[in-house]
Amino acid sequence: MRILVLSNLYPPDYIGGYELCCRQVVDGLLGRDHDVRVLTTTPRVPCPAEEHIDRSFKLTNCYDAYCILRSQRMTRRMWEASGNLVDAHNVQILLTALEEFRPDVVYLWNIAGIGGLGLLGCLHQLRFPWVWYLGDCVPRMLCSPGKRLLPVIAEEFSRQIRGYYMPVSQRVVQEIEAAGVRLKGVIDTMPNWILGEQPAPRRHYYSKGRPLRIVSAGQMGRHKGIDLLVEAARLLKDRGYDNFSIDLYGKVTDPTVFPLPAEHGVADRVFFRGACSQQELVGRYADHEFDVFAFPTWEREPFGCAPLEAAAYGCVMVMTQSCGIGEWFVHGVHCLKAERSAEAFAAAFQGILDGRTDLEPLGRRASAAIWRDFHLDALLPRIEQALESAADQPRTGASTPEDTYRLALLAERLTTVLVQGENAATTAA
């Protein structure tokens, strides 16, 4: 099959799991003899040239917080409009790629920041089949430039756009639809995955009396619940538990969390270990350096790859009861789930420290299930099936590329006029 992949970023230029997963799937599909081409943006870091990667898209300045916060309101609105709504330049690049590469199907990833609605509209005009991997609420984001949902756009999206969606959790679909954007077509929920060779089963799990080694990895911010973990550590210490440690790996994105361990008097129990590569972390899990992976993330977490990787090596997940990955694992069978509060997490850790919760069966079951059902090799046939099924759709009523580009130009100008008009009205008021 000839597959054209669209992604706003592509490793080595990446922000998080969305782009890393994109690369892993592309490599997997190439390994299964598919003809894959990736269309992505001009990199923000030096990247070696690769034959199957075309970095011609233009990325709107939507991930540079420093510039965004210091820019004029009007500039910001224009960036939001071209990043989420239409960017005629990117539509033209897509049309050229479709013309030259002639794919059977287009595989969409994160298309925020590259005029995602325009690209989607282009595929819709040409009746080109697509499959969209939803690792986050991207359709909602596209319909909400400036974090305000535009009801007219949401309505038109719901009415016109139909395709094959692969969300990582039902929670993602619920969040998109709760905002007023309905997804029409096929919705095929598929989890994130792990890579690598299955190791020998873990032999030593936590036993009462030993120090409990807790780890968490990802962005170090309050939305990931780092403050709750520090507070949970304080609660444990107040209750007389001293034989535990919490190691936190990742970039501190919220500077207010950094002084928290000292403020709560748990600087000797909670340690910020800084950013760490995925390989190094996996190596630590494989060496069984930790007993528990704490994941007190916000409820709107679409999935969460970090706990999955840890659990593959027998490190038991303790997670927020309503986050995305919670839809795939059962409390008390593969993991522990808790209310998103310091008290609930402290209680979960206390249960382990007291020996009331045995980690071995949880870790063993989760590890077996992950290597069997959450490995990319097990999921790739399903992805291929989805792509094939989408590619089989009829293309009746397709418009011409010329008309599609004209529409994109018109939409881009209209957007500019509307943003300028709105800005003028605000200034006058």
Partner: protein
């Protein structure tokens, strides 16, 4: 707008002086009345806030339970698929035959291929069983 001349202000102050004491009393009374009334209303509001917090926690718990149930269903579906694959797998020609494992030193538990009642027996018992049958 120009400010009122000083003598006008002084005159007005003089006029209102006798009214100040009764006005203060009236205001004190009003404040007391209002605070009593608000206290009556604030108390139920506090109660309602507590109830909302409890309901919210309960809702979160329900949601967590819902997602756990979804996880259970997904796991079950996956396991059923695996089971189906195992059942659909073509059986080998010798799969039903009794294999003599007398050379195997470890204690082996085998199923008798006949499918009769009491089908699980250690190898030694099985061998005895086969001898009995052949005799």
């Amino acid at each position: 707008m120009s400010a009122a001349p000083g003598f006008v202000k002084r005159f007005l102050r003089l006029l209102t002086r006798p009214l100040r004491a009764p006005l203060k009393t009236l205001l004190r009374w009003l404040v007391r009345q209002l605070s009593t009334r608000f206290a009556d209303e604030i108390m139920p509001l506090n109660e309602l806030a507590k109830q909302v917090a409890a309901l919210s926690a309960r809702q979160d718990g329900q949601e967590g339970f819902h997602w756990d149930h979804a996880a259970l269903a997904k796991r079950m579906a996956t396991l059923e698929d695996h089971l189906e694959q195992l059942l659909q797998r073509p059986r080998g020609p010798d799969e039903d035959a009794i294999v003599d494992e007398s050379s195997v030193p470890r204690p082996v538990i085998r199923f008798k291929p006949s499918g009769e009642a009491g089908t699980m027996a250690p190898l030694a018992h099985e061998r005895q069983y086969r001898w009995e049958r052949s005799a």
